[in-house]
């Protein structure tokens, strides 16, 4: 679990891990099933060690009901995160190099590598599209699923371009 996500969820008001977990579940819908129950608590403990969150004294000693609040350092980190424009990189270089190496060293047929990859992505797209079809229109998780669907579509179109290019190259040989 990314620390900033947990920090940002605490920005609204002090809260305990159980509540954060529930809010995360509502925001992610069917995607929340991938989150390990313990991850939020582990992250909170790490954040506490780092001085980004602090315990609020409460009568209960149940570990999942320990209430945390942001410290000034945590607040600052959330503000930085909000204005940060870094973006997850789709690692296309690795796949591209796989095709180049396959062709150069005759390790495998690049076109069959592309085909296998395409099938895998189509199966993922099938899962993501099915999940999106079951979502209520306009729900937060539908929007997230739509993002996943669009990225998979973009990747599939790139694979199509790979296939066309490598088919042409094999004809020229």
């Amino acid at each position: 679990m990314q620390q900033e996500v947990v920090l940002a969820m605490l920005a609204k008001e002090p809260s305990h891990g159980y509540e954060l977990q529930a809010r995360l579940g509502r925001a992610l819908g069917p995607l929340a099933e991938g989150i390990n129950e313990g991850q939020v608590y582990v992250t909170l403990t790490r954040l506490e060690k780092g001085g980004f969150v602090a315990r609020v004294d409460t009568p209960t000693e149940r570990p999942d009901r320990k209430v945390y609040r942001l410290t000034p350092a945590g607040q600052e980190r959330v503000t930085e995160w909000m204005s940060d424009v870094s973006w997850p990189r789709p690692d296309l270089t690795e796949f591209h190099m796989k095709l180049v190496a396959a062709a150069q060293a005759s390790l495998a047929d690049p076109i069959s590598i592309v085909d296998a990859q395409r099938r895998e992505l189509l199966r993922r797209l099938r899962d993501a599209t099915s999940a999106a079809m079951q979502e209520q229109e306009g729900s937060g998780s539908a929007l997230l699923l739509e993002g996943i669907v669009l990225r998979l579509q973009a990747d599939l179109r790139w694979l199509e371009a790979c296939e066309t290019s490598w088919t042409d190259r094999s004809k020229d040989r």
């Binding site: 992610l28 069917p30 995607l31 929340a32 099933e33 991938g34 989150i35 390990n36 997850p88 085909d115 395409r118 099938r119 895998e120 189509l122 199966r123 993922r124 797209l125 099938r126 899962d127 993501a128 599209t129 099915s130 999940a131 999106a132 079809m133 229109e137 739509e146 996943i148 669907v149 998979l152 579509q153 599939l156 179109r157």
Partner: protein, 253 residues
């Protein structure tokens, strides 16, 4: 090509093509739009055909649907050979056996949603009362019961396509053929149509879809890739991935 066995043999195939060809023009200008295709589509199967513009996928759909006649090869629908049928027999086949769904909906602008759905039923010889009952029931099934008296111009793109789907089903077709059914639709309307197609699949209908939309293709049983009039790849998509959805975005790490 996949190494898996076909799920249906020729006997069970609802649509069967052998060496199917369609050519346009002649001599220098000869275009082999469909260039010797073998195809078996099982009863209840949903198949998507993808490929670049001009690869012959729409022509293939038109041949299966009797909108066009092949230049050569054999074509069966429901164990009946249809490649040699005359114009009248083809028109009859289109009315009774095939449900068409088009990218541009092809609804009659001056008819209401209900009348649009009724029309092919009337043309196929059903009584006005029967046609009307069927239209009302189908519009209910596609979630447009309250729009049945609207003209197409008063409906959204997604609603128009749902009317077109109801119309395609009115004569209980043997097979439904869809040519870019989501090509003119935004994302929300695309999901509406996908949900509807999923229900048709679940009811056991046989559907062939020509599409550019990977989302549509990914929700079928089998994906055929076409190029230059021939099939270059076939992928069975049943089952989806074994991994969890959340794994795609790294949430499970």
């Amino acid at each position: 090509m996949t190494t898996e066995e076909p799920i249906t043999g020729p006997q069970q195939a609802l649509v069967r093509a052998r060496g199917l060809r369609k050519e346009y023009g002649r001599d220098e200008g000869l275009v082999r739009a469909v260039d010797g295709i073998d195809l078996d589509i099982g009863r209840g199967e949903t198949v998507a055909v993808m490929g670049p513009s001009g690869c012959g996928k729409s022509t293939l759909l038109h041949l299966i649907g009797g909108l066009d006649r092949p230049s050569g090869g054999e074509l069966w629908l429901d164990d009946r050979r249809i490649d040699g049928l005359g114009e009248r027999a083809l028109a009859r086949l289109r009315r009774r056996e095939i449900g068409f769904i088009f990218q541009a909906f092809h609804l009659m602008d001056e008819l209401t949603a209900r009348e649009n759905v009724e029309l092919p039923a009337l043309l196929a010889g059903r009584s006005p009362r029967d046609a009307r009952m069927r239209a009302i029931s189908l519009l209910g099934e596609v979630g447009l019961a309250d729009r049945s008296n609207h003209l197409p111009s008063a409906l959204s793109g997604g609603q128009r396509q749902r009317v077109a789907i109801a119309r395609a089903l009115v004569n209980e077709p043997t097979v439904v053929l869809a040519d870019e059914p989501t090509g003119n639709l935004d994302s929300i309307a695309t999901y509406e149509v996908l949900r509807l197609l999923a229900r048709l699949r679940a009811s056991g209908l046989t559907i062939v879809i020509v599409t550019h939309d990977e989302r549509v293709a990914a929700t079928t049983d089998r994906l055929i890739s076409m190029r230059d009039g021939t099939f270059v790849d076939e992928t069975r998509l049943l089952g989806g991935t074994r991994g969890k959805l959340a794994g795609f975005i790294g949430l499970d790490r």
